[in-house]
């Protein structure tokens, strides 16, 4: 049975294809269209998934959209009505936005793919999150917690999943409804702190480590716990439910002071800079407390040792680590794509296992479902530009790359299939030596062009992870997809300065050899040389761009940034333009300078 899952239209469009119960392809639209956070209908992603499986749209048994568009429209319309007359400006915009394409998904999918309308199915948004979290996790029974900004109405759900005897079921028990939303609470602070919503939440988490939760009482005024163990936002502090212009109200500003301008840098030595850092620390602390308490109750209620988490809030590695440590669960599973992109896979899995009642099958436990990078293309591009290029045996290539890293070079590493999800987990990574803070500064300055308070993550072989990082029971599993933030052991902090955050923690990835054998071998080779088999691992992209997909994108990123070496497949290219290239380019510049067109 061929089932295509689609997520689209809000942020992070994606498509995923499962054939006979097993994923064969999944990719975010932005990786193919090269437009960051591309929310358009994921035609390129769908085409690629079908091509990968070698089938046409007519061979699809079902196409599953990741949420119910009419239910979502009902929420948008109801909120506009509730906010009458304050919503008068937002209303026309919201209606045009929804009525243009978003509510007609059955027709849109039918017309794009040429499939019959009755083949198009719809899951609920949080069902998709739950399915992505539970059905892809290596567990038979688990409690499920999904939490994000908002789906149709739900912003948080809890439930239980069961896959015993090859029969899968997911039962969502309760939900918290919009406008009460932990995701939107965090996003409101993201906007208040001058970062882009749906993109800057990582920055809030990074900034939080520089602050102290001195504003926690103020944050607690904006959210209260309900007697049944859930939470509710105090809506007078928020505006996201009434207008599209601003997410916080003037009362919010009375409470926290003036918002940060997105155009002013954060100076942590200034009073305002410290206030913003404290604000980030305070909302982070409240978020952690709230989800930990909800998870603790869920553990008591279900008695299950495993928890599967989905939704955008599950990208908060600090909160995840606290849930693992404090909620009583033995294992916590967060998929590599817990956000909306992952819903494409979740929706397809849900339809397969639960709607069509197909027997449950194990889903390979890795995130590599995208297109493959081609070393031959990289070699061709480098030769055309007269750059030094080697095509090497695998073992030689790994040794040479380890030499590069020891020499302090920054390496763009492309290996096999692209990751599905927001994190580079070893197939599209920028790798560097983790020892010195100078490397961190260089990456921020010459390559990533980002704020100095944002940390870089390490990758370490799972066998030696415990030597460098304080991983609690279940921590190595949570770190498989970089989903938890854990302390670096104090004796290693100075020796791992580039990846140790200000508070002594790191968002570590523990790597099993079977998941990415070449990177694992590289870590070992680097360890043999430096004594520390740990590398700094950050996503292979520049600011404002999606993670690279094909070799040509890796190559152009390499050419435009301070990356010293790029590797794809068995090809290694170093940055040293030959004199021939320089002559050709300067000749062209001279020609154009004398060409009189103005």
């Amino acid at each position: 049975m061929n089932i295509l899952g689609i997520s689209a239209h809000y942020h992070d469009s994606a498509a995923a294809l499962i054939v006979d119960g097993v994923p064969v392809a999944a990719v975010q639209e932005e990786r193919l269209s090269r437009r960051k956070n591309d929310a358009s209908f994921p035609l390129l992603a769908i085409e690629w998934c079908l091509e990968q499986a070698g089938i046409g749209p007519e061979a699809l048994d079902a196409v599953v959209f990741y949420e119910r568009p009419m239910l979502k429209f009902e929420r948008i319309l109801t909120c506009a009505l509730r906010a009458f007359p304050r919503s008068w400006l937002a209303f026309p915009h919201a209606m045009k936005n929804a009525l243009g394409e978003k509510v007609w998904m059955r027709g849109v999918i039918s017309s794009h793919l040429g499939v019959r309308g009755n083949k198009v199915l719809f899951t609920e948004h949080h069902q998709s999150h739950a399915a992505a979290a539970f059905l892809a996790a290596p567990t038979e029974r688990a409690a499920i917690l999904t939490t994000d900004g908002v789906g149709e109405w739900a912003t948080m759900t809890v439930g239980i999943g069961d896959r015993r005897e090859r029969r899968a079921s997911i039962r969502l028990l309760r939900e918290v409804k919009f406008p009460h939303s932990l995701g939107l609470l965090y996003s409101t602070f993201t906007a208040y702190l001058g970062f882009e919503v749906n993109e800057g939440e990582y920055k809030v988490m990074g900034l939080a480590s520089y602050g102290r939760p001195t504003l926690i009482d103020q944050v607690r005024k904006t959210i209260r716990r309900t007697p049944d163990g859930a939470f509710a936002l105090e809506l007078e502090y928020f505006d996201f439910h009434t207008t599209a212009q601003r997410s916080f109200s003037s009362r919010f500003l009375d409470l926290f002071g003036p918002a940060r301008s997105p155009y002013e840098p954060i100076d942590l030595n200034s009073a305002d800079g410290r206030r913003f850092a404290d604000c980030a620390a305070s909302v982070q602390r409240v978020l952690e407390e709230t989800v930990v308490e909800i998870a603790r109750r869920l553990r008591k209620e279900t008695g299950m040792p495993d928890l599967c988490m989905g939704g955008g809030v599950a990208l908060n590695g600090v909160a995840n680590a606290r849930i693992l440590a404090e909620a009583g669960f033995e294992r916590l599973f967060v998929p590599p794509a817990p956000g909306d992109a992952g819903c494409a896979l979740g929706a397809a899995l849900y339809a397969d296992r639960i709607h069509f009642k197909n027997p449950d099958r194990e889903v390979p436990d890795h995130p590599f479902w995208g297109p493959t990078a081609d070393g031959l293309t990289l070699a061709r591009l480098a030769r055309e530009d007269h750059l030094p290029c080697d095509e090497l045996d695998d073992s030689v290539l790994i040794e040479r790359t380890a030499d590069d890293l020891v020499a302090g070079h920054v390496v763009g590493w492309m290996d096999g299939a692209l990751e599905f999800g927001p994190r580079a987990l070893g197939h599209r990574s920028i790798l560097a030596a983790p020892q010195s803070s100078g490397m961190r500064d260089r990456l921020n300055r010459e390559i990533k062009y980002r704020e100095e308070f944002r940390p870089f993550a390490p990758v370490v072989p799972i066998e030696t992870a415990d030597r460098y990082f304080e991983l609690p029971p279940g921590g190595a599993r949570l770190a498989r997809f970089m989903s938890g933030v854990f302390p670096v052991r104090p004796e290693w902090r100075a020796k791992l300065a580039a990846i140790t955050h200000i508070d002594g923690t790191a968002r570590v990835q523990t790597l099993e050899r079977s998941m990415a054998p070449r990177l694992h071998a590289l870590l070992e080779a680097y360890g043999r040389r430096s004594g520390i088999p740990v590398l700094l691992n950050t996503s292979f992209n520049l600011a404002g761009e999606p993670i690279v997909n094909r070799a040509v994108e890796g190559y152009s990123t390499f050419r435009r940034s301070g990356i010293d070496v790029v590797v794809a497949g068995r090809t290694r290219v170093a940055k040293r333009a030959s004199s021939a290239t320089r002559q050709e380019e300067s000749a062209c510049s001279r020609n154009v300078a004398s060409y009189n067109v103005v």
Binding site: L71, F84, K96, R174, S556
Partner: protein, 241 residues
């Protein structure tokens, strides 16, 4: 001629520091977007020299974005400007390659489009520079960008002549017509958007009042905290609601 006539208007637009800062920040976004599209174009082309030149061009656009952003941010900080009329229609920035599907274009049409786009942006920026005598730092930013724009205009035309020696004039005319058509589409869409917005606003204040009252009443009765999910709610995947 038109630009001379528009000069008093530009002078008015660029007089206010708050408006100036917002326009510069908007221009910075456009330049950055254009830079990303150029990167894409460099990744798509099969011509090595053009690829290198497009990457240089992309780096320039990124640098322009940074220059504009810095100056815009400095003005923003000094004025603490939060809102106001930006007058985008009256003083556009470089439109870059917005709405352009780079993958769908061959090198020739792309270069023709780029050439005209740079030429138009250079003319606009020159107008803005000329009315910025009262703000030397902002004027200097435009001066610097204009130097690059001249280079960009030249190299795109030169490469167009190299890659399509017999067709470069036709390609330029086609690109001009395409720009005209896109301009018409933008105008038509803006008018359609305005009309639909007016109709929806009218509906909002006339038809929705009783429903708004009902919705508010229902909202006040809605409990907070957990809501139970009925097991039968999600039995069917066929419905959209």
């Amino acid at each position: 001629m038109m630009r001379v006539l528009l000069q008093p208007l530009h002078r008015w637009i660029w007089l206010d520091a708050g408006r100036r800062s917002r326009k510069l920040l908007k221009f910075a976004e456009t330049e950055a977007d254009g830079g990303r599209d150029l990167v894409r174009a460099a990744e798509v082309t099969r011509d090595p020299l053009l690829r290198r030149l497009l990457l240089i061009h992309a780096r320039d656009e990124q640098r322009h974005a940074e220059l504009l952003r810095r100056r815009g941010a400095a003005l923003f900080s000094s004025t603490h400007s939060r809102s106001g009329y930006r007058a985008d229609w009256l003083a556009p920035g470089e439109r870059g390659l917005d709405d352009l599907r780079v993958e769908e274009l061959q090198d020739g049409p792309l270069l023709a489009f780029l050439h005209l786009s740079e030429k138009s942006a250079a003319a606009d920026f020159r107008s803005y520079r000329d009315v910025l005598g009262h703000d030397p730092p902002t004027r200097a930013v435009f001066e610097e960008i204009l130097r690059d724009e001249t280079y960009h205009m030249n190299y795109t035309l030169l490469q167009l002549s190299r890659l399509a020696p017999d067709r470069h004039r036709i390609l330029l005319w086609r690109a001009r017509l395409k720009r005209l058509w896109n301009g018409y589409l933008r105008l038509a869409l803006a008018i359609a958007g305005l009309l639909s917005g007016m109709l929806l606003t009218l509906m909002y204040f006339s038809l929705l009042v009783p429903f708004a009252w009902l919705a508010k009443r229902a909202a006040s009765r809605e409990p907070t905290g957990w809501s139970r999910i009925a097991p039968e709610r999600n039995l069917s995947l066929d419905r959209q609601y």
